[in-house]
Symmetry: C3
Subunit: 245 residues, 3 copies
């Protein structure tokens, strides 16, 4: 069972953060909120998503699992206004989601969750380094790096966090000292990541005042930030690229 109401803008941002990873996902619904874990088709990035009950204007739910095509919801949310309220109701018998926005009622057929790839196991990683920075700084470094290369190095050297991309002839590097960061737990960290993935991930990150990066040496990166004014959270786990040459 699910019957809920939520601000349209907030739902749009949440769906956008998930759509970065994959289109068809299983929503785990419970009394506490909505939870998703999903892996991208190439097994490079994982998204862990939660939107807790308090993010909603109204929220009533029993435990259940539904399959959703995020593209369809994004399409529908495209015509909402910033301050619209979206009402959602699950019809379990017909496996349909009823969505109501300002008098417009959508009936959306759900996907059979069993046809969607199972929820991944989240690996237990010891990531020794933590960097907390503004989402805009991360985005700026990613956008600058895209002009030059298709992968980017992220690491920490003593009290400095750096992001660096090298092209055939050119290079770009952003260094941020402890005083430019919101927080830093220093240690041994330096890994290479695909800019294809980072530039997608960075889109929703953009709105986050605070993004936490957890890093190691040639290890995956964990990118965490809050959504819905703290009533939700998105984490991306991105596998490193192994430097050739």
């Amino acid at each position: 069972m699910l019957k809920a109401a939520i601000n349209a803008e907030l739902l749009k941002d949440s769906i956008a953060a998930l759509a970065v990873i994959i289109d068809e996902v299983r929503f785990k619904i419970s009394r506490e909120g909505i939870f998703v874990k999903a892996v991208d088709p190439a097994n490079v990035a994982m998204g862990i998503f939660e939107l807790r009950a308090e993010a909603f204007e109204e929220y009533n739910a029993d435990e259940c699992e539904i399959g959703i095509d995020l593209n369809k919801i994004s399409d529908l949310l495209g015509i909402t206004e910033k301050n619209d309220t979206v009402r959602i109701e699950l019809d379990e018998n017909s496996q349909k989601l009823l969505i109501d926005v300002g008098g417009l009622s959508y009936t959306l057929s759900l996907l059979d969750p069993s046809t969607i790839r199972a929820e991944p196991r989240v690996p237990q990683l010891e990531l020794p380094v933590k960097v907390v920075l503004n989402g805009l700084d991360l985005r700026r470094a990613v956008k600058a790096s895209e002009k030059i290369s298709d992968h980017m190095l992220m690491g920490v050297s003593e009290d400095t966090f750096y992001m660096e991309a090298k092209g055939d002839t050119d290079q770009v590097r952003l260094e941020m000292g402890r005083d430019q960061l919101i927080d830093l737990k220093s240690g041994d960290a330096c890994s290479l990541f695909s800019l294809d993935y980072l530039s997608d991930i960075v889109k929703p990150v953009n709105k986050a005042n605070e993004v936490t990066l957890s890093l190691g040496r040639d290890f995956p990166i964990l990118i965490d930030f809050e959504i819905a004014n703290g009533a939700g959270k998105v984490s991306y786990l991105l596998a490193p690229r192994i430097e050739s040459d």
Copy 2:
């Protein structure tokens, strides 16, 4: 004879409302104003347009008929500013239209009206139902329906006007009660229309505070709204689609 001056924005909106139906049209010019009736190439939609003398800053005309390629005028109006005044003068000898905007003088060759499809006969229809609503509401329903289907049902059931689109698996429906409408004359009405046409028609409708829909059962729809602050009027008559399924 025609010699007139008109606000650029107003002329742009008028031309845009006409261009929805067809590119080459016959303008019937008289002392009272400019009048156009045109049918789209597939004979599905008809546009009936009038821009009366009082819409103009200056207006002097004798009865005449000219052929115009609306694309050319739209192109030229594209570079005008909102508050520009457009001066128009017809040179009947050379069959050219002289258009002056802020010092820029265009000389536009007219089309021979006899090469343009004749003005259609407007059918006399008894459309029992009338719905008056805000142009934005109509537009929102059309935009939502486009995501799901290529045709849309419009009808009235007792005191409720509804618009509905059904896709293979999903559905969208907008219901508006008497209190959400500007006016309603209820009756038997339910017809299916092509969203291709509706989404074009809805573009100029968007700016109208008040749109009147006249409907019947499996009958054409008549969509009326004012332009030029009441000094002009556009009507679209759109043929219904016959539901196959």
Copy 3:
């Protein structure tokens, strides 16, 4: 040697004005500023560009010549904010340009100037007519003409400057009298120019309050305007087209 700092918006506008002509250019650097002369690949348009030391927030330079791919710099400047300061330093040993914007450091490989087409000789022309007008007026005439033709006539007839384009059936003409111009030195001038080139040139001109055109009969046109609040100057010399038919 070069070590300089400049406002990002100002540098972006300067690069954009140059990029109209060609992508790879030789920058002549001296104590007085940065100077470029370049010809487009088809030898139709020449750009003469200067950005004097006073345009910079800081400027230290010895005489040198470097080769730059303007596309790369435009790309990088694309992510700067309006009020950012761009710091530039030339590393002559490695032939690299170090560019720093808000903590982001770019290392840009320079081109070997000897691989770039040599600086053209600027022809000495006697252009009897001078027209000074607002950049926006020039742009408006060019944009209107593009709708109709691929070349435009520019000339002076007594106290009137005119720009005119003729299509197969239509025509557009902008006339500006002495009172609508900022200044006019009248004389014999009437030449035809390619709108392909003019519409590129007119993009940076757009921001100029004052543009000086120097003209003759079937002669090139010289289009001059200031950049960087008077601390720089761009001149375009555009060859005329010979009217056929």
